[in-house]
């Protein structure tokens, strides 16, 4: 955009001329669509007469640019995925920016363009938004909040609760674990590590859509973000009338991720992902779902990693790569600060 400023000023959040220019020349320009174009206080959207899924998420990752993505891509993918794993088709997003005074215009523009591209590729519309600028030091560069609405078919409302899970169901994940968390960790210069790791940050709804077309027996989905695969599995088992058995030798951990995990003492099953979904699928449909996932770039390394069992009720067990066994607990505390 043509702008007279290299950096964001407090005035860009004042609601006056500068705000107006920022919105029309940056946000509205890149996010453009029929609903946003109305520039009203609320976006008015058609009610399709189905159930709606509604989600919100805030993004404060540090650093804001990292191999494989940036805070903007994360915001779009994170919100889209939260809808998709609920079984919904993502349709509309809101984006709210909190920007630190003095933040570079070029960086903001770069983030906005990524978001616009990602939304376009995903086929979702950014229909409303907001910008605030805060004093230097009151936030770290830029924080983004994003909410999303998706349309949920009544036959899929059970997915979110996992109420139809049965003993014998298979557990599938669409690829390697730990990439996002370690990519962000390596991108911070604190460690002086150069590692060939890229975040897996990606919208998964198209891949999930294919899987749902291939099988009506997908009984549960959850994106394995903060807390990693381990936390999703532990949460799923907790208080339930079934147990979960995971095979460590079926998990894919890329070499760079493994290297940093070894170095820092992290367990990859607790490291964050931003493009991984854990699915519980009826055994007879597992191969259909695998086939559907593998057709997509985001699912080409999909693997069956475990199953629902009748023993160890309420608990998740990991058969370790050396044949030992241990419990998978939820991650408590943090392995890493501000990864999303």
């Amino acid at each position: 955009m043509k702008n007279q400023f290299d950096t964001i000023l407090l005035g860009h959040g004042s609601g006056g001329k500068l705000s107006h220019d920022l919105i029309s020349e940056l946000f509205a320009k890149h996010f453009d669509n029929d609903i946003l174009r109305q520039q009203s206080d609320s976006a008015i959207i058609e009610n399709p007469g189905n159930q709606l899924a509604f989600t919100t998420d805030s993004f404060v990752v540090d650093p804001i640019f990292f191999p494989g993505g940036d805070i903007g891509k994360l915001a779009i993918a994170g919100t889209v995925n939260d809808l998709a794993v609920s079984g919904a088709i993502p349709e509309y997003l809101s984006v709210g920016f909190i920007i630190e005074e003095g933040f570079g215009f070029k960086d903001l523009e770069r983030i906005v363009i990524t978001m616009a591209d990602e939304a376009k590729k995903a086929g979702v519309k950014i229909v409303t938004g907001d910008t605030k600028v805060v004093d230097r030091g009151k936030c770290d560069k830029v924080f983004i909040n994003s909410s999303g609405i998706g349309i949920l078919d009544k036959k899929d409302t059970h997915i979110i609760s996992g109420s139809r899970i049965k003993v014998g169901d298979q557990i599938i994940i669409n690829g390697s674990i730990g990439d996002h968390g370690m990519a962000v960790m390596a991108a911070r210069n604190e460690l002086n590590i150069t590692a060939d790791i890229s975040s897996d940050c990606a919208c998964l709804h198209k891949m999930i859509g294919s899987a749902m077309e291939a099988s009506s027996q997908i009984k549960f989905m959850r994106d394995a973000t903060r807390g990693g695969l381990g936390t999703v599995i532990a949460e799923l088992a907790k208080g339930k009338d079934f147990g979960i058995h995971i095979h460590e030798d079926q998990l894919i951990v890329n070499d760079g991720v493994r290297g940093i995990c070894e170095l820092l003492g992290f367990d990859p099953i607790y490291v964050a992902n931003e493009g991984k979904v854990v699915m519980v699928v009826a055994a007879e449909d597992a191969q259909h779902v695998m086939k559907a996932l593998k057709k997509h770039e985001t699912g080409k390394n999909a693997a069956i990693i475990g199953e629902i069992t009748g023993d160890h009720k309420g608990k998740a067990w990991l058969e370790t790569q050396v044949g030992g066994k241990r419990i998978i607990e939820m991650l408590s505390g943090q392995q890493l600060p501000r990864i999303c």
Partner: protein
């Protein structure tokens, strides 16, 4: 990944499990001294692979866990001084002191920075000449040489605003005290990293004086299974001795250069261990000639009165008398997000390891 995958080979691990089963006829209690071993044993689910005759108990080898509350209290007091920047390894900042902790002080605005090496702390000292940089020197023979190197480097570079607050400790006195106190152990899985520095000589007293075997072990599952097998065989044949399983890293004479550096900067002093009390010649104090880098000598501060938490049995757990599950606070009041005792804080602490992997 080369040099790692070989030591996580399922077939070898299962073969060793079979051999241990065959060799072990009478009950044996082995203590893994090192917190890194505890973590590895739990992470790979090793106990599940052992026959009923072999019991593993965790020892006092997690540096954060054996550190006294009064050490934390003094570090907290330093952090409250206007002109001080605290630099520390990450583990320490959540350890509770009597009424506060370093992360609570950080939230209140104290300048506390997590570093991955003492060299980062030296860099901070260079960049902040008008401040006093206090490095919290914690750990056994493994990390103490790097503190020594940091002090020598500070002297060479003429950095005068850098101080080490030493809680460094040495391992053998604790291993001997445990046996002396009557803790039931039939052998030690000896610390791997400590021994890379010290060599195997420091453990000779244990078979000679106490009749117990020590096998210095690596940290991978094959290492641990192999070490357990070696200890079981020693025990069954009544032939206690010091052996090195971790031969790819540990030489009998150790790392002579690191030993010299340690000796140059530090001298022994009696030191207090959580759970064990004061042990003779078990701590490392900075020598007189480097006193200008000794925080305890150079920075005066008022430290609050020591308060110990009620019900916490970290001491008994560190002595191997009790297991984490025996503690009433374990998993209820005391969790990794709200640790009461230090064993729940460090990822190497036995309570944290049990909480994560074996609850």
């Amino acid at each position: 990944m080369k040099y790692i995958d070989e030591y996580r080979d399922k077939e070898i691990v299962l073969m060793l499990a079979e051999e241990i089963k065959k060799a072990s006829t009478k009950p044996i209690r082995l203590m893994e001294v090192c917190g890194g071993h505890t973590m590895s044993i739990q992470k790979y689910g090793i106990p599940y692979l052992l026959p009923k005759t072999v019991e593993l108990i965790s020892g006092p080898g997690c540096p954060v866990c054996v550190t006294s509350r009064s050490y934390i209290d003094r570090a907290v007091a330093y952090s409250r001084l206007e002109d001080v920047i605290i630099t520390t390894y990450g583990d320490l900042i959540r350890v509770p002191g009597s009424t506060s902790s370093l992360d609570k002080e950080k939230a209140k605005g104290a300048d506390i920075r997590i570093v991955y090496s003492i060299l980062d702390a030296l860099m901070i000292a260079k960049e902040n000449r008008h401040k006093k940089i206090v490095f919290l020197g914690i750990g056994f023979e493994t990390t103490a040489p790097s503190s020594a190197a940091g002090i020598i480097k500070a002297q060479m570079a003429g950095i005068s605003n850098f101080y080490v607050y030493s809680a460094h400790k040495v391992m053998p006195p604790a291993m001997e005290t445990l046996i002396d106190e009557g803790v039931l152990i039939d052998g030690y899985i000896g610390p791997g990293h400590v021994s890379t520095i010290t060599g195997d000589g420091i453990y000779m007293n244990i078979p000679e004086k106490f009749g117990l075997g020590v096998v210095i072990s690596g940290f991978e599952p094959v290492d641990l299974m192999q070490s357990i097998l070696m200890l079981v065989k020693q025990f069954e044949n009544n032939d206690p001795k010091v052996e090195i399983e971790y031969t790819r890293a540990v030489k009998p004479e150790g790392n002579i250069k690191a030993q010299e550096m340690l000796d140059e900067v530090f001298e022994y002093r009696d030191d207090w261990w959580r759970g064990l009390g004061v042990l003779k010649n078990s701590g490392l104090k900075i020598r007189e000639k480097y006193a200008m880098y000794d925080a305890e000598e150079q920075i005066e501060v008022e430290v609050e009165e020591l308060k110990e938490p009620k019900g916490c049995i970290c001491g008994d757990i560190l002595r191997g008398v009790n297991k984490p599950k025996d503690c009433k606070l374990f998993g209820t009041v005391c969790t990794p997000s709200n640790p009461v005792g230090s064993c729940m804080v460090s990822s190497e602490g036995s309570c944290a390891a049990y909480y994560l992997y074996n609850r």
